[in-house]
């Protein structure tokens, strides 16, 4: 086995409610403009809708767009931004060996069809045969392809030509953390040189709200920042696509690619989630990277969802650690599978800029160092899985 390779982020693609592209997102945060949210369309729930995006720019064929539902279009768009940023668009010799790991949910439904079937099902006794008939007549064949989790990756292969390999991880926030962990580990060990890793989320949909409402996990009523959402807390689901091109330093230098940042460590764990478990797990993860941290030049970007008790448990430990903290969920909402990648993107902008954006809300802390060079990104999931990454300026 070769010596461990340094892992660089050489491409970033980010679209959120704040805007399109890493720069637009960073500018919004740096100005301290109010978060963009919608508390009218899905009353009583609060969501962060996607900023206006012209999908034609990254998905030129309308026929391709028609084969996707919004979460896939968002992801394919963000993947295209990342590939463009890394300078590998239209380079088949690179795309041919580019590996891909996508963290995905899926299951986007046809709300009109579901609603019509339910309205009639209540009046029928022969529910079984009625349901068969309606599903056979009403479901669009292409909808199925938009529901398959691996078809975000499939569409990225088709639209952007990434064909080295394609794997899709499932399982909410942990899927995002593990996607980055495996992509990082494979490059570090020489199993891959170039990997596109990312996720996409569309929280502005009734079907996904229904899944989280069953767990009582959603923010209702008025918007408030992370840390100010009361004793049970709640998630304001986001709309986002976040993709990173990870590359071995050697490979990047050979082709003259620039690094936004390097990923030093990615940790992913599974605590049983008994009281105290999150704290113990996060402390252990922190201790494993603490010797590498220069406290004068470091900060934390938290992926806290806003749901309790996970958010408070995480912040108990973050306060002990005592580094400046930002909670991106206040601005971009919670993007579940995509959140960790979105936060790595924002963290890479922070180390490039050498500073944090202004604090917002009671869970943010500290002004941040004047020469920021390391960011600890947390991914403590709303119900399972604890992740942490350390990224630093590539000097």
């Amino acid at each position: 086995m070769n010596a461990r390779q340094e892992v660089w982020i050489t491409g970033v693609g980010l679209i959120t409610c704040l805007g399109e592209g890493l720069d637009a997102n960073w500018q919004h945060l740096a100005r301290g403009d109010p978060p963009a949210y919608d508390d009218k369309s899905f009353v009583p729930y609060v969501v962060h809708p996607l900023a206006p995006v012209n999908f034609d720019k990254q998905i030129p064929k309308k026929s391709d767009q028609r084969q996707m539902e919004p979460w896939q279009r968002i992801g394919v768009y963000a993947a295209g931004l990342a590939l463009g940023d890394a300078g590998i668009v239209g380079k088949p010799e690179l795309l041919d060996t580019t590996d891909m790991i996508v963290a995905a949910g899926g299951g986007e439904r046809d709300i009109a069809v579901d609603t019509a079937i339910l309205a009639e099902a209540r009046k029928r006794r022969d529910t079984g045969s009625f349901l068969n008939e309606r599903l056979m007549n009403d479901l669009r064949p292409t909808l199925f392809l938009a529901q398959l989790p691996n078809l975000l990756a499939g569409n990225i292969s088709i639209v952007h030509g990434v064909v080295g390999s394609s794997r899709t991880f499932l399982g909410e926030e942990s899927a995002g953390v593990d996607a980055v962990r495996i992509a990082h580990a494979r490059i570090a060990a020489g199993q891959s040189e170039l990997t596109l890793v990312g996720g996409a989320y569309n929280g502005a949909r009734w079907d996904v709200l229904l899944i989280f409402e069953q767990a009582g996990a959603l923010l209702k009523g008025e918007f408030s920042p992370i840390g100010a959402r009361g004793t049970s807390g709640g998630m304001a689901l986001g709309n986002m696509g976040a993709f990173l091109v990870l590359e071995s330093r050697q490979h990047a230098e050979r082709r003259g690619a620039r690094a936004h940042a390097r990923i030093k460590t990615v940790r992913s764990d599974r605590a049983a989630r008994q009281p105290g478990d999150i704290e113990a797990t996060l402390r252990r993860q922190w201790e494993s990277i603490a010797p590498e941290i220069n406290r004068e030049r470091a900060a934390v970007i938290s992926g806290a969802s806003g749901l309790e008790p996970a958010t408070s448990a995480e912040h108990t430990v973050l306060k002990e650690i005592g580094l400046p903290i930002r909670n991106t969920g206040t601005y971009i909402g919670h993007g579940v599978e995509a959140q960790f990648m979105a936060n790595l993107a924002i963290a890479s902008a922070a180390v490039e800029q050498g500073k944090l954006y202004p604090a917002e809300g009671p869970a943010d802390a500290g002004a941040g160092p004047s020469d920021l060079s390391q960011v600890v990104v947390t991914g403590i999931a709303n119900w399972r899985g604890e992740g942490l990454a350390l990224i630093e300026r590539a000097e």
Partner: protein, 425 residues
């Protein structure tokens, strides 16, 4: 200290020390192997829900495991658990409830079921429109469903029960998922992150909607009568796959670790190859290049040549498209020699177990190597003249099989191939 065993590329050697299988043929390796080599079909008329109005009314369901009203999530978890328990018991690894390595799971994607959606609609006031906002109002009374439709739930529960280490990874590469789970385990051991890994593919998600979805893509056989004749890979009259349920678990282990603890080595995972296809969402590139590259990558990863392969466990779905493309692909990789290599499809008997298929078929390939006996491709009464392959028609065959290739191809351009062999003599 003894020298470490390394493969041709200098990496740790991956042994399989435990295997567990559940399919429509039954629960456990023994029951499955005797029926599979006996040419028995597990495909039956669907009894779980009414089939009036459906074009396809048959499936390979796990009737030995299903109990009334089990949801796809419950049933998938149950078959995964049974397969995992069998594999871990055989490997005799780790103290009970503590598997000494990570879990890689290929589960079906989960969704709220129509039965639940209808129950919620019925809880709404009679004069209310049962649209989504109304479902949301009653949803919190569905406390039993708290986490039931989160994609990570099966992995979470299995990690708890088996006591696997770290974050359990759930993955989906469509019909190649089971092979991808094995691949992730192989890579983790090769990186030296762990000495053992548990790879499971499990899918027991037959519902009216899952059936209708594949039906609308014209992917399923509609030759419902008799059910056991419907899946006929590589036949001229093949007309689609038969949706099926099942699970398989493999305990993967660093060869030296297995030997040091005196474990029995059931086989070696010698190589894995993948290549994705950018041609179409459900169809392969007409030139078959990604399929070919996937097989070649697997052989290169194993450090062997096409001439070293004695048997191919085909993806062999029984769709017109797959079997044509797989024939094209193996012909390109193996050349003229392909006519002399037995290639059979387990799906002729157990149907297409979707996200489990790659794991189930890897498990059967290991049993083929162990038993030196090749399961047949049943229902092969009308050969396709365009497919000149030795599909081991209808009857199992004893053969000298040292090394085998197992193919998995899926929607979304997913192609994963495994090279499996016996323990070096």
């Amino acid at each position: 200290m003894t020298a470490k065993t390394r493969d041709k590329l200098g990496r740790p050697v991956i042994a399989v020390t435990g295997i567990g299988i559940v399919t429509s043929l039954g629960v456990g390796k023994a029951a499955n192997w005797s029926k599979l080599t006996g040419g028995v079909s597990g495909i039956r008329q669907i009894s779980r829900f009414p089939t009036e109005g459906l074009r396809t009314t048959i499936a390979g369901t796990v009737n030995d495991v299903y109990r009334d009203d089990m949801s796809p999530a419950d049933l998938s978890e149950r078959v995964a658990l049974l397969a995992g328990e069998e594999a871990i018991a055989e490997a005799a690894i780790g103290p009970k409830g503590h598997f000494p390595g990570p879990l890689f799971l290929a589960p079906p994607p989960l969704e709220i079921e129509w039965s639940d959606r209808i129950k919620m609609a019925e809880m709404a006031p009679a004069d209310a429109d049962p649209a989504y906002p109304e479902l949301l109002r009653v949803a919190r009374n569905f406390a039993a469903n708290r986490n039931a439709f989160k994609f990570g739930i099966i992995g979470e529960n299995l990690a708890e029960k088996f006591g696997t280490e770290g974050s359990p990874i759930s993955l989906n590469t469509a019909c190649a998922s089971g092979a991808s789970a094995i691949q992730l385990g192989m890579e983790a051991i090769r990186r030296g992150e762990c000495v053992a890994a548990l790879a499971i593919g499990a899918d027991a998600s037959l519902t009216p909607e899952s059936l209708v979805r594949f039906s609308l893509l014209s992917a399923l056989s509609t030759q419902n009568d008799p059910p056991e004749r419907a899946s006929k890979p590589f036949s001229k009259n093949r007309d689609g796959f038969v949706l099926a349920e099942g699970a398989a678990a493999l305990v993967l282990e660093d060869f030296d670790h297995a030997k040091a603890r005196g474990a029995r080595v059931l086989g070696i995972l010698e190589g894995v190859g993948e290549k994705s296809d950018s041609f179409h969402r459900t169809r392969s590139s007409p030139d078959g290049k990604p399929i070919v590259a996937s097989m070649r990558n697997a052989l290169a990863d194993a450090g062997v040549a096409p001439d070293d392969v004695d048997y191919i466990n085909a993806h062999g779905t029984s769709t017109p498209e797959n079997d044509k493309m797989e024939h094209l692909g193996v012909s390109a990789v193996f050349g003229e020699r392909i006519r002399g290599i037995p290639i059979s499809s387990n799906k002729s008997m157990i149907g297409h177990t979707l996200t489990a298929a790659g794991a189930v078929e890897a498990a059967f390939t290991l049993l083929t190597l162990q038993n030196q006996r090749i399961p047949p491709t049943i229902n092969h009464s009308v050969p396709d003249p365009a497919i000149a392959l030795d599909v081991v028609p209808n009857v199992a065959r004893d053969a000298n099989v040292r090394r085998a290739l197992s193919n998995s191809f899926g929607f979304g351009g997913q192609n994963v191939c495994l090279v499996l062999t016996l323990e070096p003599a």
